[in-house]
């Protein structure tokens, strides 16, 4: 006797219970704390904050724990929380020139005012598994030097600008209101502020692959890392009632300025052009990828031919959001049997027609052979 499937509710409740069990794992092992995640898996926390576009280390750590370490799931959880928060307004532009810098490198100059600062980087570590991390071996205190307030850490783009060899930073019309793609429907072509917002929220892996593709000839890029700087900047917010800006606190960001060769056009002289990346926390890979893609997406503005995926704004922006992508890819596991039934019926009918016409063809051949 056939009984229709029932009990979705109980199945869901049981699945959630099992999920909680698997998340907790072996009960004899202490559970991981939010402080441990925030403190010791800091780069995971940074990525979740960046792609969720919500700067809150402990909530990001909570999301990572809740998601069992699945980064996109954690980003999703934090975004779903972010969307319920009231929006008070737009901060003043961050002044990254006055960043309290922890790492700063330039690939275009051997030395420059303020110097190169390696900071906390994996760059020259040998990727050998480190047995000392199997235990809780003591870790040395870092050697830090006091910042020298006298030395201004001018940005590399300003050095080039002194010679007028790089395009201006670009300006939006005076009456331009900063866009927010989480609050307004998307429309193509986008203004650059919205595009940068989309890229800053975009999936690191997707942007990495696109940025990489521009280096391999899909998009004609000749990039140099003008500068990457990581450090803390102050966020200021204008309060109309007060008539001045108040500080909301400091956040860590990674900024990348990519410098690209540009041969010039009828209107513009030969000069370097800019690609820009800025992300929450410490993520050079993301900010570099972002600046490569930002530059590639300026093709139309600079009068370049659009030949590659990374230059195609609608393609890039429509597919850069991993919460959207994962939702739609994974929705394929939802039941589709109603539509499948319709397709099944069609394929069966077409197959019958096909067999019938082949049979008819065979009969004709037989007749011809017999004659």
């Amino acid at each position: 006797m056939y009984v229709a499937v029932k009990g979705g509710e109980a199945a869901i409740a049981n699945a959630h219970r099992l999920l909680a069990d698997r998340r907790r794992g072996d009960r004899s092992v202490p559970s991981i704390t939010i402080e441990q995640i925030a403190g010791q898996l800091g780069l995971a926390v940074d990525r979740v904050m960046a792609e969720a576009s919500l700067y809150d280390r402990s909530l990001a750590a909570l999301a990572i724990r809740q998601a069992r370490g699945d980064m996109i799931e954690a980003i999703f959880i934090l975004r779903a929380y972010r969307t319920t928060l009231p929006r008070f307004g737009t901060s003043r532009p961050l002044d990254t020139t006055s960043m309290a810098i922890e790492r700063r490198i330039s690939a275009t100059y051997k030395d420059l005012p303020g110097g190169q600062m390696l900071g906390a980087t994996f760059d020259y570590t040998h990727r050998l598994l480190d047995p000392s991390l199997l235990t809780d071996a003591p870790v040395e205190e870092p050697a830090l030097r006091q910042p020298d307030d006298e030395v201004s850490l001018m940005r590399v783009s300003e050095i080039l600008a002194q010679e007028d060899l790089i395009e201006a930073d670009g300006e939006l019309p005076a009456d331009h209101v900063t866009g927010d793609l989480t609050r307004e429907p998307l429309e193509f072509p986008m203004s650059r502020d919205l595009r940068l917002q989309a890229l800053a929220r975009g999936d690191e892996g997707f942007l990495l692959a696109l940025g990489y593709s521009t280096q391999r000839g899909y998009g004609n890029a000749h990039p140099f890392v003008g500068e990457i700087r990581i450090g803390e900047v102050e966020v200021e917010f204008d309060v109309p009632e007060l008539g001045f800006a108040v500080s909301l606190g400091c956040i860590q960001v990674t900024e990348c300025q990519m410098v690209n060769q540009f041969k010039g056009s009828a209107k513009a002289p030969p000069q370097f052009t800019r690609g820009y990346g800025l992300v929450f926390g410490q993520s050079e890979r993301k900010s570099m990828s972002m600046s490569l893609v930002d530059r590639a997406l300026r093709a139309t503005e600079l009068g370049e031919d659009i030949t590659a995926a990374a230059q195609d704004e609608e393609f890039v922006i429509s597919h850069s959001d991993n919460v959207q992508s994962t939702g739609f890819v994974e929705h394929l596991k939802l039941p589709h049997y109603v539509d499948f039934q319709a397709e099944l019926d069609l394929v069966r009918r077409m197959r019958r027609d096909f067999e019938a016409s082949r049979q008819a063809g065979n009969d004709d051949d037989f007749m011809e052979a017999a004659q």
Binding site: T83, P185, F328, H336, Y337, L344
Partner: protein, 296 residues
């Protein structure tokens, strides 16, 4: 850092009032321009994109404390995602829910239109994955928007005609495009084309929400919804060559259920509420008519 104690305080029906107003304005314009896709600033919902976030945002924006909600997926109330969405609204809006089509004031659906004719006090909310009927012919939004603006739907007719040239008939079985009130070509969402005729001159308001694609569109009641076709190849719906094995219903959409690994299968109503109603009224299908034989 924020205070984490009050993380879980949400407004009635989850969405904040500002978001609801934005969606409500989009819904009203959608009704005023039948079949036109209104862009809206879709919010990140606490369920994945592609899993009904558009439908959920529409429902959350229209639902009131006195509404009675029914949620179906594939025609059934007990599919897991339908259960999950229904539970969501019970939790965030504390509203009454039902599986009875007749009792519902709002029916949120994925992939089916109920068999029972809808009434004027009901609203049907569709979950829509790809709202743009021209998307698979032209992936660019910038281009498809122009086509709608100019009422330039030749591409769609060419596609359907190529089907006929190749197969002798139109090989589209679901998401079958319709024209609304003689103007906009619209996707009915991935409902089987079997359901298309139910959209035409419906007594109920039909709202469509696409969360990931950020579009809302609508068909007001008593509005012409015509499936695209050709004079010599008129639109036809699927026909099933047997009735429902449980309730004996004909002219309804059936699910194929595989019974064993030897090719045994049966066909039962996709609309589970309709099937239960019929059985309660004493209708009996082939399988239930001979339980003795089946047991022997």
């Amino acid at each position: 850092m924020s205070s984490h104690a009050d993380l879980a305080t949400y407004n009635f029906a989850y969405l904040d009032e500002q978001t609801k107003r934005m969606i409500r304005r989009a819904i009203l314009k959608a009704i005023a321009i039948p079949g036109y896709q209104v862009p809206f600033a879709s919010r990140e919902m606490p369920m994945p994109y592609g899993w009904g976030t558009g439908g959920v945002q529409v429902t959350a924006s229209i639902i009131g404390a006195d509404d009675v909600l029914k949620v179906i997926d594939q025609g059934a109330d007990d599919t897991t995602n339908a259960v999950s969405i229904r539970a969501f609204f019970q939790k965030v809006a504390d509203i009454a829910v039902t599986t009875k089509t007749d009792e519902a004031t709002i029916i949120q659906t994925r992939h089916r239109i109920p068999e029972t004719r809808l009434k004027s006090n009901q609203v049907l909310v569709y979950q829509v994955p790809i709202p743009e009927p021209l998307r698979f012919l032209e992936p660019r939004e910038t281009e498809t928007r122009k086509m709608h603006a100019l009422e330039e739907y030749g591409l769609m007719h060419v596609k359907l005609y190529e089907d006929i040239a190749r197969n002798g008939h139109i090989a589209t079985t679901y998401s079958y495009p319709v024209k609304v009130q003689g103007r906009y070509v619209m996707s009915p969402s991935p409902t089987p084309k079997f359901d298309n005729p139910k959209m035409h001159m419906s007594d109920a308001l039909q709202l469509f929400g696409a969360g990931r694609e950020k579009r809302i569109y609508a068909v007001p009641p008593h509005t012409e919804v015509v499936s695209l076709d050709f004079e010599d190849h008129p639109f036809e719906v699927q026909k099933f060559d047997r009735p429902c094995a449980l309730c004996g219903a004909e002219h309804v959409y059936l699910d194929e259920v595989i019974l064993d690994d030897k090719g045994g299968r049966m066909f039962v109503c996709s609309d589970t509420d309709h099937c239960e109603d019929r059985r309660a009224d004493g209708h009996v299908g082939e399988l239930l008519a001979k339980p003795q034989e089946a047991a022997e």
